[in-house]
Symmetry: D2
Subunit: 152 residues, 4 copies
Amino acid sequence: MLRLSREIRVEWGHCDPARIVYNPNFYDWMEGGLLALFAAAGFDMAPMIAKDADFRGTPLVRGDASFMAPARVGDLIVHHVEVSRWGTKSFDLHHRFTLNDATLVEANQTRVWARANPDNPQSLAAVPVPDAIKVALSEDKHIRQTIHQETR
Amino acid sequence: MLRLSREIRVEWGHCDPARIVYNPNFYDWMEGGLLALFAAAGFDMAPMIAKDADFRGTPLVRGDASFMAPARVGDLIVHHVEVSRWGTKSFDLHHRFTLNDATLVEANQTRVWARANPDNPQSLAAVPVPDAIKVALSEDKHIRQTIHQETR
Amino acid sequence: MLRLSREIRVEWGHCDPARIVYNPNFYDWMEGGLLALFAAAGFDMAPMIAKDADFRGTPLVRGDASFMAPARVGDLIVHHVEVSRWGTKSFDLHHRFTLNDATLVEANQTRVWARANPDNPQSLAAVPVPDAIKVALSEDKHIRQTIHQETR
Amino acid sequence: MLRLSREIRVEWGHCDPARIVYNPNFYDWMEGGLLALFAAAGFDMAPMIAKDADFRGTPLVRGDASFMAPARVGDLIVHHVEVSRWGTKSFDLHHRFTLNDATLVEANQTRVWARANPDNPQSLAAVPVPDAIKVALSEDKHIRQTIHQETR
């Protein structure tokens, strides 16, 4: 499977009065990682949604997460994300957040490929995941996004 | 069990380019609901943490959530939260978000009562949940927080 | 002018490692207050945007803010907002956040009434603020939104 | 002055139903940029606050911002930040956000060097900015943080 690993610098605003990352940020990062994975595979969600008025993206249907250790301001954590199952109209993602070699958070999500429901455009209908998506996201490659710093 | 139901007005900033609530907001609301439930039971977490330098709150250990239907800007949703299990050092919460009579999101969380680890204050140790907390949060009462509007 | 005052409970997730409200939350609340003010005047922005494909809302053009005192978890602050100037295509808002009788934050914003630019739909064009909006938001009324709690 | 320029990828969760960056995110990024600037100069705020119980960071006192153009999901914007004035107990920051060569947002902030007020630890007292901070942040250097992507 195509695997994306991206560095995330923990910022002041990610942390709460207990001085650790406020847990909803991990869910926010999962959304960012999904989009980054699709973009790395050549599929930019934003223009896909802008061009196709009835495409509704890949809404989250179910998720679970385990929190093993906290992260703190300044930590450089790594978010690993890949597809772990292909269904017809759905797929699963596996997320892992690490700091150095320790796993901080591990999570699974089931998402659907969604279009506007033709009978009621306010609601969603799951439709088959396009084959081109499955092929691109199933490639055996590892994409790494890292933050570089240079001084002049 | 003590049950809290609180109204949440979906705001512009809660919603994403798909024009529905961005799912990490539900996780943010779960944190808010936990604190509101404890406060309604007479236990304000912030002063508890401020007064007891080694108390670390009730960090999330595990959670799962199912998303059934979206919410949109302006929707007045209701967040229901109550303890669904008492362990020795942990407890489970059940969350449900409704819009009119439809369930939007249903979630379960396992959290621990945490103090600084005496051997390594940077890490946490789960300790027994105080009896006073269990008693207060086990009361058979329903607390409702609603938003009122009046014009003069 | 129509003035809206709304209660905001400061939550755990609004606060940072300094254990005070993380300042970007005040800017988030200003957006929420603007929408609440329009809604209270009978103009719900979300359906207005959904119904009129070229309407782009009231984007922020300029703002300033002064921060006098911090707020903390559990504080019940009040956000006061009203229009302070009408231009042809723009208007100014005045925001004030109070805790008990102290002013925490005072801010001014200039916003425009925006539509898609007919020459380039990706960009915005400021257009005259509709008279019905000016009339409704100029009424001499005070709307208060408060959080009520009841136990059964 | 020491100038930091850092790349920020606009994510789905940064954008609102108008499909542009929700403006409070720019204020969030300003906070992140300040911390990144201090860290690049050798001063990590989080350990400074953790080690010195009475140090309260550099709270925002006043700010203004002008918004010239929107950003959208997937845009790679650059945030430029540097000190623009040193006072005795305060300093000003200048922020600029660009996309390609266009300026999206320009902002100024006045912040103070703060410690707990000895007469009332709940409130803050501005104290002189340490000389070592002024020297480090006044160096004539440009630090660039960029996001790199590699595939294996």
